[in-house]
């Protein structure tokens, strides 16, 4: 498989680490395409974590080793970064992550009661996963859908489940696979692939690299290394 020509002009070469062994096939191909979109490989770290979750359902230690190699940091740095973000799960989660918002607008509309119902009916607490591995329950901060409070997402897709009955129906549908077309398994975030602007004109890349190097040299000369910020 050939490497895509980068759109951006990488300042630091990636691939400093060992060749990926865990991320494979199409996921690895897309990972390399993502890397090529950013001037600094490290910028692809979060998108690559999402991709790894698409492959495995969660962010495994093996995937973090591969990501570290691809973006040129240590596996510890990948872990340390990933744990900052709520959507990156360094422990296994269910096929469906159900997030119930209890922030202010949802609170005013019965979200706490809905979350209690979810815990009781699923037999798990917040953060728990049902024994069959289907559902992980999360309490979310505002999900920016406050006019349909209380707001629920499944794998970060909005669903309407404002009452206990609607919630039970949602769970039954998820278990029956009735919403599979609309809601992919946890980890798959963006199903629309970038189809253009992946392969850049090599002359344009060379020019951008030259300008970038010039800019950095000028800045370093003016303010010391790394911008002094």
């Amino acid at each position: 498989m050939s490497e895509p020509t980068p759109v951006a002009a990488p300042r630091r070469s990636s691939g400093a680490g060992p060749a990926p062994t865990h991320l494979t096939g199409d996921i690895l191909h897309r990972a390399r395409q993502l890397l090529a979109l950013y001037p600094e490989p490290r910028s692809a770290l979060v998108p690559l974590c999402h991709l790894a979750q698409e492959q495995d359902g969660w962010l495994t230690p093996e995937a973090m080793v591969d990501i570290a190699g691809l973006v040129g940091v240590t596996p510890g740095e990948v872990l340390g970064t990933a744990t900052f973000y709520d959507m990156l799960h360094t422990e296994p989660v269910g096929r469906y992550v159900v997030s119930v918002c209890t922030n202010i607008a949802c609170l005013l509309d019965g979200a706490v009661e809905l979350l209690e119902h979810a815990e009781d009916s699923l037999g798990i607490g917040v953060g728990g996963t049902t024994a069959d591995g289907t559902i992980t329950l999360e309490e979310a901060e505002c999900l920016a859908d406050c006019d349909r409070a209380p707001c629920v997402q499944v794998n970060h897709r909005y669903v309407v489940a404002r009452t206990s009955e609607a919630f039970d129906q949602l769970v039954a549908d998820l278990r029956a696979g009735a919403r599979d077309g609309e809601i992919p398994p946890h980890g798959t975030l963006v199903r629309v692939r970038r189809t253009a602007g992946i392969e850049a004109d090599p002359a344009a890349v060379a020019e951008e690299r030259r300008l970038s190097a010039e800019a950095r040299a000028a800045r370093d000369a003016a303010s010391g290394p790394e911008g002094g910020a």
Binding site: V7, A8, R11, L37, P39, E40, R42, S43, A44, V46, P47, C49, H50, V71, V73, G80, T81, A82, F84, Y85, D86, M87, L88, S99, N103, I104, A105, L107, L108, D109, A140, E141, C142, A144, D145, C146, D147, A149, Q153, H156, R157, L189, V190, V192, R193, R194, T195, A196, G197, A200, D201, A204, E208, L211, S212, A215, R216, R219, G227, A229
Partner: protein, 434 residues
Amino acid sequence: MAVTEAPRIVTSRLGFEDAHTLGRYLATGGYEGLRKALAMTPEAVAAEVDAASLLGRGGAGFPAGRKWAMLRRSPVTYLVVNGDESEPATFKDHLLVERDPHQLVEGVLIAAYALQVTRAFIFLRGEFALGLERVQAALNEAYAHGAVGRDIFGSGFSVDVVVHPGAGAYICGEETALLESLEGKRGFPRIKPPYFPAAIGLYGAPTVVNNVETMSNLPWIVVHGGAAFAALGEGRSTGTRLFALAGHVNRPGVYELEMVKTTFADLIHAPVLGAGIRHGRQLKAFIPGGVSAPWFGPDQVDLPLGQDEVAQAGSMLGSGSIVVMDDRTCVVRAAWRITRFFSRESCGQCTPCREGSGWLERIMERIETGRGREDDLDLLLDACDNISPGVAWPPQQTTICVLGPSIPSSISSAISMFRDEFLVHIKEGGCPHG
């Protein structure tokens, strides 16, 4: 008058089911603003935006034209669009990215041309799975249409646009935290100065950061001219703005309204807007601009929806979200939930924010759950004062970013407006609302 005859600037297509497709976009005047801009000089495009007096729609309300003028000259510059939208009760960008993604893309391209940036990034919160797909699909269509990429519409101008997913962290909405996150790091806000990424931004290069709604206004401004935009609204608050109305109203939702010409009372009560408080109840309090803003009571409901007007009254229009609480609302519980949000989302770099938010949350929790003590109100206000001395508005800055000093707003508002209710909680050992 509740609703003026102002044109719909950013919501004109929302009546169409297929508003997100290129076909519908082109059939409704799409990409005409970009074509017009490309026929002008970049400076002339920026001048129109400056003339429009377009205030940033992300929360701080800084004029976009002035921000653009501050972009340090450099061979490499970036444009970063802030679509993190995580301020509680704010849900307007959600609508724009899902329902009219081409309008956003066109706005980004107009800005990219005016600023002559090397590359543009659209940062969207990761919880916008559909929004991420819609914007990526729009971008794919725009590339195929020749509106983005190399030699856009034969103009000789080239720029690539990258959609970047966040991964769940409120603080990444703060623009320097967003840049850190975009660099593949934890979303820790950067120490100021430099105050503006326009001097030192992404990878140290000069960067303009603008909100999704700010960008979405640009196609209209270029087509109709900055003066036409500035003719709407009043004073510094020009044009229209999206207001996200939530809470105890009959018709919560996002409404595009001419700035200043509408009051909070209109927004809450007009039949075509909020349509009044549910179940015939009365208004108890409302939050005028996101949970960082001090609360207002019924006597402030006649204030106009204008940036300076709300600021003069002691709060802020902020992110344009209004939360309405009816007379049965437990304000202690509401303020506790907001405090818990800040405590969870504090990035932890600054002691007043990290420790202060935790203290406040624990005290609020014990009051709400019936374990409050008599001196707890003084303790709360004292802790607020430690986070932001004087607990004034605008708050005194003690931390790296303004999240910290925003924490006291809800608690100090709730105590000053409803002290009795706190006392009832403490004396009767619990919430009278159940």
